[in-house]
Symmetry: C2
Subunit: 206 residues, 2 copies
DNA sequence: TATAGCTTTGACCAAATGGTCAAATGACGT
DNA sequence: ACGTCATTTGACCATTTGGTCAAAGCTATA
């Protein structure tokens, strides 16, 4: 009984459009600064319709955050593509840089959430992220023990990688200003990516 | 005529207390999320009194930002303490790390402002910051030409330094979570500082 | 101590905002 | 064609919030 009729098209499509609009507005204005009216406007629907699909603003924000988490985890997996620290770190830093470049809104929302003390994703920090870090810390320590890396504290390496890569999403406007007003070109971004990889790799190589 | 009586004590003291309270609330809640009522409450004065000293919320925010700029510039000056890249970069990274540790509120407000696209401090980015970067880029290029540094793009080095150091203010909560709930101890922070300095220095050394 | 100018504060206001509701409209299987 | 359920939407509401005001309280100096 209670069979769920799979008639998702209209609902699915509207939710997708609303989440997309919400991502933009939340990234631009922050959680408090974002208004449901602005999100609805950007999605091209009346505000009441937004509240039909997402009863509360926080619920909508949660849905946006879920998308961000998915992207974060996908990039994180690239750490595990190799047992060689040079390859693994290159892949990981590269993936995080690409994430910041291709999903700047998600990256900014993530940073803002972290800066606010993670009121919504605390659970993720406590479980998935904690486990991910613990596990990869072990990998890094193994590399150190094998003489492949300097004896660094793995966590600080992760912090540096996270900070540096996220910077290209968070501070895109500042970078544009320092670039004469124009956003980083693809070429400049590729150079930034390879320099980030090279500096960090040289910095931690044994 | 119209001589300004230098009777600053009451006004000065109240403005200071309000700016201090505002710094806390703005850092915690963001510009939109901060309410003048919350700031006044934290400063221990009625809201109307806050508006007597700072007619508008934005004006108060500007005053807070000014403090932040001052701190930023002070830290920036440590870049110029030496002509040797190792010493200069060590001093600069160390100063920025200390700034994040000692003035986390200011650091977070700065980051939030940058992330929002610098609506208030755009002028600072266009003038002081642009000049500072241009000038220090020249210094770095000179070091490169003298064979003291790898041929990196100076700007990307600054981005990495800014990002890494700010991380210790912006993500303090995330770090605490990954640290079993407790904030970084002074000892751990000192280690983070020296590792950041070492990794970056090794990363850019010729 | 008179008084001119600061400072304090409770009461108040208009606008903005998250959310509600009920009526209207549309989709779709039978 | 019908009936049921999902969707749409304009009007509406309570609360929050930045900001105002006028009256009252203070301070210091001539």
């Amino acid at each position: 009984m209670a069979r769920r009729k799979p008639r998702p098209t209209i609902r699915e499509e509207n939710e997708r459009a609303l989440i997309e609009a919400a991502e933009w507005v939340f990234a631009e204005q922050g959680f408090k600064g974002a208004t449901t009216a602005a999100i609805a406007r950007r999605a091209g629907v009346p505000k009441a319709n937004l509240h039909y699909y997402f009863p509360t603003k926080e619920g909508l924000y949660r849905s946006v955050i879920e998308r961000v988490l998915t992207a974060w985890l996908a990039a994180a997996s690239s750490f595990d593509t190799s047992d060689d620290p040079t390859l693994a770190l290159s892949a990981y830093i590269g993936a995080k840089m690409d994430l910041a470049r291709l999903m700047p809104l998600a990256s900014r929302i993530w940073s803002a959430e972290i800066m606010r003390g993670a009121p919504i994703i605390q659970d993720f920090l406590d479980t998935t992220l904690t486990e991910w870090v613990a596990s990869r810390e072990r990998v890094v320590r193994r590399w150190i023990a094998a003489g492949k890396l300097k004896a660094i504290e793995p966590r600080f390496l992760f912090y540096m990688i996270w900070a540096t890569t996220q910077q290209y999403a968070n501070a895109a406007h500042e970078m544009a200003t320092l670039n004469g007003g124009a956003p980083l070109s693809d070429k400049a971004f590729q150079r930034a990516k390879s320099e980030a990889i090279e500096i960090i790799l040289r910095g931690v190589a044994a």
